[in-house]
């Protein structure tokens, strides 16, 4: 027996899904929100250095579970490997209520206006599907603002001349600076650059009924025991649930979007917590499962009107998988900089996001989150041994003097960097898993190398006595900043969703998450995902109101 019909069923309670749920529920529409992971309260914060969303050597604290959820990665040599969620290359984000926002580092960047107009600004790049977004910064600006105020952002952008216009400042001031921050700030100023305090989805002062950050060492990759980090699970989701119109169903995994003869969705099939197949009928379906799983779900949803999968008439679903190429540089300072103050990352420059001669874009550069001892282990110059007395001496003498500067290099989208269904490997429910293949564009590596050099300049100006740059390989990108697999565009032949996030050849299915990003900016993506969700939520609300 199927469940009673609702206005909307939303798949995935991550950064995007709960925002759409809230936008619909407060307007009186009935919503079912399906999340494959579990719900964690702040006291479930599980501060474990070896098992979290950043260092998953012993698994992920916030999903997916260690077994039963494999993916397949095809490497540059064409070799396919089955990977578990804790292995490098799996491209995990999270599987829990709040998704990545429960445990993220919480940088809250707006993209730069030019990030929406990459092709017009720089021209085509050979071997890349680089394109303009069909919407512009100005279209998103009100929704960026809404995300900043409703979810909650602290920081101070007043010193950053490289940003789009904004109507309102951020609702909270930044946290006080660390030693590292002061050193880097002075150095950037001396270089003539424009340093400022990173915007963060974190309470620096009490806000929205939750307390302020106490600056612990376990932030990025961990949930916050004070609930001071602002995610969807402690903001929009409680608002949605309080309306009485929204139901959250956890440990429920969507596996197909069935359609009628005309090709419109009738609801969602999912496997519930007890392992039983259920069907939730709905007027509208919203897919917010993040770039890898959203593409997988659309490809799994085959029917006569959508033979190759929902939205995949022209073979664009799963294409253009991208993330960010993080390179940067490490520096050993003459003096100790470690002051044991989380979250660590606090100062940034946007001087090199655009305007780099010969380069199509660039990256925001910032200092890194505070490093736990286990995370410092790999951060050594090439001549330091990996083990033995040399290793130990380096850790002992360098740990408190290490500073890293890095940035999310804007990537050149590659058509063949893609998600498909694996022909053999299945998950614990017997459903084909995501097969990831492709590579990074050569120009992406050129840009990221140039950004590493800028990071090095910054560290040297701050007094580093030794520096060593990071480099990147050509392997597939994606990871926690995964995006691009259901491109937004005006033309059904070269994109998957329209500018309102609706799948082109279907009246009532939306994709709302990083999948729709045409390009992924030179910034961490979550605030853009949230802004898009507010904007799509508003559109869906209007649509639902119209066709009663």
């Amino acid at each position: 027996m199927s469940l009673s019909k609702v206005d909307a069923v939303i798949i995935g309670a991550g950064a995007a899904g709960p925002i759409v749920a809230k936008e619909l529920a407060v307007a009186g529409f009935t919503v079912v929100l399906l999340e494959r992971g579990k719900y964690y309260a702040p006291y479930d914060c599980l501060k474990d250095d070896l098992r979290n969303q950043r260092t998953s050597l012993l698994g992920n604290a916030f999903g997916p579970e260690d077994e039963g959820h494999p993916r397949v990665l095809v490497d540059l040599a064409g070799q396919a490997r089955v990977l578990q969620p804790y292995e490098g290359g799996y491209n995990n984000n999270a599987a829990c209520v709040g998704g990545g926002t429960l445990s993220y580092g919480a940088m809250a960047w707006r993209f730069h206006p030019l990030d929406f107009r990459m092709k017009s600004q720089y021209g085509a790049v050979a071997g890349s599907t680089l394109e303009d977004w069909p919407i512009r910064y100005d279209d998103l600006e009100p929704y960026y603002e809404k995300a900043e105020w409703e979810i909650g952002v602290s920081g101070d952008l007043s010193g950053n001349p490289f940003q789009g216009p904004r109507r309102k400042p951020l609702p909270m001031p930044p946290l006080p600076p660390t030693r590292e921050h002061l050193l880097l700030e002075k150095a950037a100023r001396a270089k003539g650059w424009h340093p400022f305090s990173i915007p963060m989805l974190r309470n620096s002062v009490p806000y929205n009924g939750r307390t302020a950050c106490m600056r612990c060492r376990w932030c990025v990759g961990f949930a916050c025991e004070l609930d001071a980090k602002c995610g969807t699970q402690n903001t929009v989701l409680p608002t949605a649930l309080a309306t009485g119109h929204c139901t959250l169903r956890t440990e429920c995994t969507a596996c197909e979007i069935p359609t009628d003869r005309k090709g419109n969705a009738t609801g969602v099939r999912y496997i519930d917590a007890a392992g039983k197949m259920q069907e939730q009928p709905a007027r509208v379906v919203v897919v917010s499962a993040a770039a890898v799983e959203s593409a997988r779900l659309l490809l799994l949803s085959r029917s006569a009107p959508h033979e190759k999968g929902l939205g995949n008439r022209y073979d664009w679903v799963g294409r253009n998988l991208q993330g960010h190429t993080y390179t940067g540089c490490l520096g050993l300072m003459a003096e100790e900089t470690y002051d044991d103050l989380g979250p660590g990352a606090s100062i940034a420059i946007c001087d090199f996001n655009h305007g780099n001669p010969g380069l199509t874009g660039g990256a925001m550069l910032a200092n890194e989150f505070i490093r736990l001892p286990i995370q410092a282990v790999g951060q050594r110059p090439a001549e330091i041994p990996r083990w033995g007395p040399g290793h130990k001496e380096f850790m002992r003498s360098a740990y408190r003097r290490l500073v890293a500067v890095q940035g999310p290099t804007q990537e050149m989208p590659v058509f063949d960097a893609r998600i498909q269904l694996d022909p053999e490997v299945k998950d614990r429910f017997g459903i084909p898993v995501a097969r990831m293949s492709g590579f990074r564009h050569a120009h992406t590596i050129e840009i990221s190398d140039a950004m590493s050099k800028r990071a090095e300049e910054w560290l040297l100006a701050a007094g580093a006595v030794k520096t060593w740059r990071r480099t990147s390989g050509r392997g597939l990108s994606g990871g926690q900043h995964q995006a691009g697999t259901c491109r937004m565009g005006p033309d059904p032949k070269t994109s998957v969703v329209d500018p309102n996030c609706r799948i082109h050849d279907c009246d009532n299915v939306y994709v709302v998450d990083g999948s729709v990003h045409v390009t992924n900016g030179g910034f961490n993506p979550v605030l853009t995902i949230m802004a898009l969700a507010y904007r799509a939520g508003e559109h869906i609300r209007t649509q639902l109101g119209r066709n009663i």
């Binding site: 702040p42 006291y43 479930d44 914060c45 599980l46 501060k47 474990d48 250095d49 070896l50 050597l57 012993l58 698994g59 612990c216 060492r217 376990w218 025991e225 004070l226 470690y338 044991d340 736990l372 001892p373 286990i374 410092a376 282990v377 990996r386 083990w387 033995g388 007395p389 290793h391 130990k392 850790m395 002992r396 740990y399 408190r400």
Partner: protein, 193 residues
Amino acid sequence: MKRRNFLTIAALTAASSCSRTSPAPGLRVLSGKEARTLEAWVERLIPTDQDAGAREAGVVHFIDRLLAGWLKRKRQPWKSALEGIDRGAFLAYAKPFYELEPKRQIALLEQMEAGKASREAFPDDGGKAAFELVLSYTMMGFYGNPRHGGNRDYVSWQMLGVPAVPVRGRRHRDEAALVENEKPNSSSGKETL
């Protein structure tokens, strides 16, 4: 290969397979001999000097606990690694690894790291995978938090000057884990590598 060496290895292998009937006292999975080999190995990776090393941090205990849990279904590479390094030591010096002088232990580990240890000891890759496996878990057991049985008394954090602050929401879990840690070995002997 010299006949004498071959015989010793055969004898060793036979002997070790019967001695592996039960884990050593205080351990859940590793036999006494395996624990000694592993301890000598991790001691070379993070040696004791003015500060505690992997031995004092309880890295063997950490790995043993994982072999009973997280690594339960991934024990084979550990078995091969511990057998392999001993075979390598025997082939070169006719002694088990833990009886070698530190200099020789280091030389063997360097060969493994470069994938150049004896193929008789490590047929697939000259010891590279075994080396990387033990290295990565040694780092985790030394620098990670004590919940999993390593980094005893926060020795590595003391060395780095990182305070072991009690964090709300973490403390009760750490304490629960430490109690679990101290449980005596109740294994029936089936839990060997």
